[in-house]
Symmetry: C3
Subunit: 262 residues, 3 copies
Amino acid sequence: MSRGCITLVTDFGTSDPYVAAMKGVALSINPELTLVDVSHDVGPHDIAEAAYVLRGVLHYYPAGTIHVVVVDPGVGSERRILAAQVDDQIVLAPDNGFLDLLLDGEQPGRLVNVTNTEYFHHPVSLTFHGRDVFGPVAAHLTLGVDLCEMGHDVDEYVKAEAGMPHRTDEGIEGAVIHVDRFGNLVTNIPKELLRELGDEVRVQVGGEEIVGVDRIYADVPEGHLLALIGSTGMLELSANQVSAADVLGVGRRTTVQVVRDE
Amino acid sequence: MSRGCITLVTDFGTSDPYVAAMKGVALSINPELTLVDVSHDVGPHDIAEAAYVLRGVLHYYPAGTIHVVVVDPGVGSERRILAAQVDDQIVLAPDNGFLDLLLDGEQPGRLVNVTNTEYFHHPVSLTFHGRDVFGPVAAHLTLGVDLCEMGHDVDEYVKAEAGMPHRTDEGIEGAVIHVDRFGNLVTNIPKELLRELGDEVRVQVGGEEIVGVDRIYADVPEGHLLALIGSTGMLELSANQVSAADVLGVGRRTTVQVVRDE
Amino acid sequence: MSRGCITLVTDFGTSDPYVAAMKGVALSINPELTLVDVSHDVGPHDIAEAAYVLRGVLHYYPAGTIHVVVVDPGVGSERRILAAQVDDQIVLAPDNGFLDLLLDGEQPGRLVNVTNTEYFHHPVSLTFHGRDVFGPVAAHLTLGVDLCEMGHDVDEYVKAEAGMPHRTDEGIEGAVIHVDRFGNLVTNIPKELLRELGDEVRVQVGGEEIVGVDRIYADVPEGHLLALIGSTGMLELSANQVSAADVLGVGRRTTVQVVRDE
């Protein structure tokens, strides 16, 4: 039997003791488990970026991996904590719209409201459920505790209030959800939605306009902007050899318009 | 039997090869062990911040975990390296005042001066004891080598010259020891000391004054400062929705005064 | 038998999902393996810095460790991927001059062109060989698959076009290849080359001149520059108590001249 694997997505950063406290609680329950940091640099409370980051790794992990997401502005309130079976992976996250963004509104294979305090770390603090709930529940799941032991099945998760792209009269309105290390701007607009507009589009962002999508870097001179479909299937805005974020002077949450080029 | 667990607190950062060199030496001795990064972003030589960070994780780890702290301005000098039994955990650190800050002056269950070069990595460099002493000694401890094999018991550790709060005529003088990712300012003033002043206090920092402690964020308008007791039991200064470090224009080592509000 | 160990050097940063995707693919092949991050903060496409970072850890790891280097501007082109046996370690890297810088032109014990797609993750993308080639090949190697299964032996690797120091009429011209957390400037000039100039040298960098090498910090007043041989055997430029990078206003890739002091 495998030792069990937990991945972590948080907005905790790596200078504070928070992440290591979560790991200590989990290792105290299952000392054999493998812990992988996906990212702790998600923008504070930015569930759209957390969904983007997890989507980039989810299906590459061994079956039964527990993916823990602690981007949780509602900690201490009545928000639920959900465990979702997504194909052969399990995602543990606050019920704050994150799952809606991760799953694009689709239904997971199974959805459990995690309420069984037997699997929590006590005393349970008001402000640090990463350490007191997410970490220990994930560790127990790697030991083979069944989802049904964690609480009861539910039918629905909270819908995301923002962070989804939407159709407009002229095309699609979305937003930048992540700026990667090279200054590429990843948007929340998937290629499937983009295709509905047809082949001829213009992308408007930061006062600039880019004509056409899916060109390769070599198509434009150094320093010029281009739009393309990135490795996770989302519309990305880049600049040849330089940072698109710097060229445009924009960042996370900037609005992006795609319009038909008529 | 468990595989053994080592946590690491250093001021090495994560862009240099230093941390990974330590890990390689440890894994060469015990290839089964689990390594956890607590923080490598401690301010250079800042033992007060290192103590804060380790205190946030220490008691959440499996019994027998070795916590290695390499914040060591005295490397290469005659300073000792101590292994301290703290409840069911072991802390391995230079004898430079760090243990005093970690333990608030209390005596550990056991205290050993680590001198047995048989457990070091040779040749021992003058400047990199993390790799040549701390890493290999910790790895041997995870294999079950007894503390008494590492050197000889001692009674005392070096007292911290600074970093402790102290009583003044008007109240307490302390300092900011850590700025977290959200710009909250963690001080070295524990809630027990604060309580000695009674319920009515004012906190002075960066030319500003905050009236009262232990209020919640919702008590003050957005952008306003407040004082509260954080999750590790220390006085923290925050601002509602924004960074207190930015609002006050202060950072690590800034003086904080708490005075009775008469 | 050991569980297997993989170390990672990339220019991916730690905010993007790229590193964790690589790890997921590797863990899906060998769930028991130990993964160690050396650095993901290598300058984009900077193979000289990657070589410096790996050289600092290579020989401290257990025999049979696989060191994966993904600093790969040529991804998607015809560049080869090589597995090199270096003493009892294996290095897996793109054939872009990196191995020349790592090995200082010397021949590895064995050199294999990795072409066997049976060990790749499919479909193999054009842009993310870290996830689709390097990760899975490394994981299979930790399981005991022999190098000869991965492709065929070759004799030569690509020579580095830049990044090596060279002799000039007056002495040696090199460059800064890494700025460490404390602002020390690590150059690509090894102590062996430096010795060829004799004991009396001057170092010219950023419009300043430093007389003599291998002095210790205490030899110069606070804030003053000095040149010394660092823990990895390279010429380093430092400043007593402060950042040499700040004092000089220079960084990675800055030219460094060493001339005889006549």
